[in-house]
Symmetry: C2
Subunit: 348 residues, 2 copies
Amino acid sequence: MPMDKNNDFRFLKACRGEPVDRTPVWFMRQAGRYMKAYRDLKEKYTFLELCKNPELATEVTLQPLDVLGVDAAIIFADILLPLEPMGTGLEFIAGDGPSIPRPVRTHQEMAALKPVDVDGQLGFVGDAIRMVRSEISGKIPLVGFAAAPFTLCSYMVEGGKSRDFTLTKVMMYEEPETWQGLMDKVVRVLADYMKMQVAAGAQALQVFDSWVGCLGPADYEKYILPYTRRLFKELETTGVPVINFSTGTSTMLPLVRQAGGDVMSFDWRIDLDDAWRQIGHQTPVQGNLDPNLLFASLPVIRERVHDVMRRAAGRPGHIFNLGHGILQHTPVDHVKAVVDMVHEYQHE
Amino acid sequence: MPMDKNNDFRFLKACRGEPVDRTPVWFMRQAGRYMKAYRDLKEKYTFLELCKNPELATEVTLQPLDVLGVDAAIIFADILLPLEPMGTGLEFIAGDGPSIPRPVRTHQEMAALKPVDVDGQLGFVGDAIRMVRSEISGKIPLVGFAAAPFTLCSYMVEGGKSRDFTLTKVMMYEEPETWQGLMDKVVRVLADYMKMQVAAGAQALQVFDSWVGCLGPADYEKYILPYTRRLFKELETTGVPVINFSTGTSTMLPLVRQAGGDVMSFDWRIDLDDAWRQIGHQTPVQGNLDPNLLFASLPVIRERVHDVMRRAAGRPGHIFNLGHGILQHTPVDHVKAVVDMVHEYQHE
């Protein structure tokens, strides 16, 4: 039997730190509101309907692939999907983002959280992964994903988006047993959920710690790292590469690195060469263009894409991406242009 | 004639890097909604009325001083006050924050901005400073302040608060002459405005670059640093110490240091000892407790206050502060307790 040719994808090779013909590039939220095809579907279905219907989630996942020419697909889903089976409820209010009707703020509320049967209760994500794989297998690899423990817990405690994360931090500081219980439960669900995604066909995973940058290094080390490390440790058994994504963590990258993962993804608040040097060149990296740059003109975009590529210096193990998701009104042709700029870039 | 005894305040000594008997401590937004006396006034007057009426601004400025026992007063005002005389308008909508009715998004809109007669059009701030000084002179020093150029421009371009700062960044990238013209005009107004504050009696200045952390190092160096540096250079002529405050800039502190100022203030995303080492111990520093910590219990607060103090290691030139302003629902007695913890701390 020959090796699975799916292993030859340049995205997966880069995740393993192997040399590639061209730098792989993909985008967070590459399926989404900036695309007309997506907005058309959103006129007929709610966001949660799109997530929970495997046919629709498959359609959305595939939308950007041919248009952009990216090197990876990411399953269309939401980091908050595990909240419903855990029992907090989950709503999306147009213009206002997610709202969690029964937030977790006391020990009792934490204790009442339910274990999740990921195959049964989140099986629609597995179904969508299987359907996407049957469409793209051999052409492009599929990335599964979930939130990191802190980011998921912050939504559960705050009840939605937050600017200051006061309630979450106060629980951390004042109710260590509640915090520990909450993080323990969340790690269990997230590990099971991502393992299920790999079993369904996800060929890589990304763990989104989107809001952990609200913490300083000491808090991260004490309240977050032990749990995130346990999650990454569990994901090692899947055998697929795992990307450790966070934003606003540029002052504690070596600490975030300790949590685990095969690839470190960071935002634009640090130069890519500086970040890579800090975590060590043996670790593959992903990043790190500012998503706002995609609103600039093509010559400006080119200059900045080339700057990122120059800082990567042709080292094996660089995946080009933005530092965060594509913004809502981003011009599609600019996203496509970035893919071409990355693929056409010649390292000196 | 003896030296002005106002120069003996421990806050001002620390700003100059001189040894002090106790570490000075004050807070951004130490007058504000977390205090009942302030909320009572706000029932009768709008925020802008409080800012523009020197008697009321004086009353608000004085409110926290005896209650907290802080080592500096900061004049009650708002960083956006210069916008009205520049011609963009300025409104505060309850719960929604500032709104700028005529944002600056084109070259024509930039060119139409008016020069400001700071003595005439912002003279109410000077009047308030004179009134506060007559109340507190010899007891506690008074800090004046303004926004840094980027932070003020971001409000002007976005038309209010922003999460992504897309319009501001696109102007920077795509309309360099408009950006330069805007920053030039803003630097002129801010320099005049802060010089007027010193002439009225402000004994130190703080320049708030609250949102500049949305930029990466290369953008900061190219689009911000030249203007901020010019502002700090102009402020040197005032002879009072100037605090260079920013948040989210922990990955580029040496660059932010280059902009100028006598004291570098930073947030909690970096350990104080690490930050101080990066910018050099000859530069006084201010910081850096997470404002959310003030919602924790006193033992937890004490542990974290002591951690900051330990990292400062008793070096001359440390001013204790939060990494950002006091949050709305902060318990007043916790703020007071922090002042006592700092004053009672004994360096080993």
